[in-house]
């Protein structure tokens, strides 16, 4: 393991960088898109609710790999030339946004409806009430599940390896085939993943406990 670590340090760090970069980009955009569709789902307008529902159900029930491969294979063929990293990150964003939408919707619905009514009664518009009163309270409730989504995101970003995204998992394969030391290569890369995900998951468990009491 030490041999792999010292000889392939630069590849490993590069892989870690790409994994983190893709996870963070996907987290930011999927939170924005997810929140948007979550709001669609609680709007009084029926058509918007249906659109929100379809988006969420559609992308929650299709494998991430299928979505990522779709962008990797089809976009360069018909639309524009994009690299594996971009295609993978787009796939990751869309897939995760449907899970985040579901989480945010649950958060919004757990906020007492009286909050919205009160805000409206005090002269706020629907959007003002939503963005200034309801959403901040909803986000406070859903911080632990959102954190868990981020952990999933880091793990799921390993599909970038399928689309030549140069992430940790991709580097794991190339190191394994270069060094011919399969077990140790995968163990080292496993440790790299754990360094990100394990502390996060303990912190989220701690947060959940603190919020529950």
């Amino acid at each position: 393991m030490v041999y792999i670590l010292t000889h392939y340090w630069s590849e490993l760090v590069q892989g870690l960088g790409y994994t983190l970069l893709s996870s963070v980009i996907a987290l930011v955009f999927s939170t924005i898109i997810g929140t948007m569709f979550a709001i669609f789902e609680v709007l009084p307008n029926k058509a918007m609710r249906v659109i929100g529902r379809i988006y969420i159900e559609l992308f929650r029930n299709i494998p991430l790999l299928v979505i990522a491969m779709f962008f990797y294979v089809i976009i360069p063929l018909y639309v524009a030339k994009i690299d594996g990293f971009t295609a993978g990150t787009i796939g990751l964003t869309i897939y995760t946004s449907s899970f985040i939408a579901e989480t945010v919707r649950a958060g919004i619905q757990s906020v007492d409806p009286g909050q919205m009514e009160g805000a409206r009664a005090n002269g706020m518009t629907y959007w003002q009430a939503m963005s200034k009163i309801v959403l901040p309270q909803a986000f406070k409730i859903i911080i632990p599940p959102l954190g868990n989504q981020f952990i999933n995101l880091v793990k799921n970003s390993s599909v970038l390896a399928f689309v030549a995204g140069f992430d940790l998992m991709y580097q794991a394969n190339s190191i394994a085939s270069l060094s011919l030391d399969t077990i140790n290569s995968y163990m080292v890369v496993g440790c790299f993943y754990l360094v990100i995900t394990l502390p996060l998951s303990y912190y989220m468990r701690h947060l959940e406990k603190r919020l529950a009491n």
Binding site: E57, L58, R60, N61, I62, P63, L64, L65, V66, M69, F70, V73, I74, L77, I151, K155, N156, S157, S158, V159, A161, F162, M169, A172, N173, A176, T182, I183, Y186, V189, G190, Y193, L194, T197, L198, S201, Y202
Partner: protein, 217 residues
């Protein structure tokens, strides 16, 4: 349009369905195995046997926080170096079972924790042993409480079987790739069909879990 009609010829559809069958096979075996192992691990983690529970908890946390692809690679490419060479199908099922058992262990444990402690006290006061109370009173309630979470975990399992295409398991996505590899005009029809097949299975399961949840609640 011509592409779609040609792409969905009976030969292609049958080839996709063969892939779907492998996906279903892997999923069903892994679901059953991981439900049993996950429940045992979850209970072990809950009952606090000295050392054993701590070790189980540690291993479960490690496995849960690794990407599934890494575990698939490890079972397929890593295990042969340790002197055990599983076939593709077995390696996939092994990897899925290890990963999903860890996920389920955590769900089952949280389900048990959510059952009112008075249930255990009541069962013990009525003369049940600790193990009897756990098995007859606590465990069924814990499962009932966590059905939606467990089913959504199984839905992820079904979706995640697509990852095994990287070790060339002849499942749905792999068969689709073989078809569109022969003719690039089939790419879009194949992706739509594959997405549809996964969607139907996973969506049906999620509807089923909602019905089950309402009936049991």
């Amino acid at each position: 349009m011509q592409n779609f009609i040609q792409a969905y010829s009976w030969v292609n559809i049958r080839f996709l369905l063969e892939g779907l069958w492998v996906t279903v096979e892997v999923s069903v075996v892994s679901i059953i195995a991981s439900f049993i192992i996950g429940s045992v691990l979850g209970v072990l983690r809950y009952v606090k046997i000295k050392y054993l529970s701590a070790v189980v908890g540690f291993v479960v946390d490690i496995v849960r926080n690794l990407p599934l692809i890494l575990i698939i690679f490890f079972t397929y490419f890593g295990l042969p170096h340790l002197g055990f060479k599983p076939g593709i199908l077995f390696a996939t099922i092994l990897a899925m079972t290890i990963f999903e058992s860890a996920m389920l262990a955590e769900i089952v444990r949280s389900g048990i924790l959510a059952v009112d402690y008075g249930q255990m006290e009541g069962a013990r006061a009525n003369g049940m042993t600790y193990v009897q109370a756990l098995w007859h009173i606590i465990f069924p309630q814990a499962i009932k409480k966590t059905i939606p979470t467990i089913v959504s975990q199984f839905i992820s399992l079904i979706k995640d079987t697509s990852l095994a295409t990287i070790i060339v398991l002849p499942e749905l996505l792999n068969h689709a790739q073989i078809i569109y590899g022969q003719n690039s005009a089939y790419i879009i029809p194949m992706f739509i069909m594959v997405a549809l097949m996964y969607f139907i299975i996973c969506y049906a399961l999620s509807v089923l879990s909602r019905i089950l949840d309402k009936k049991l609640a």
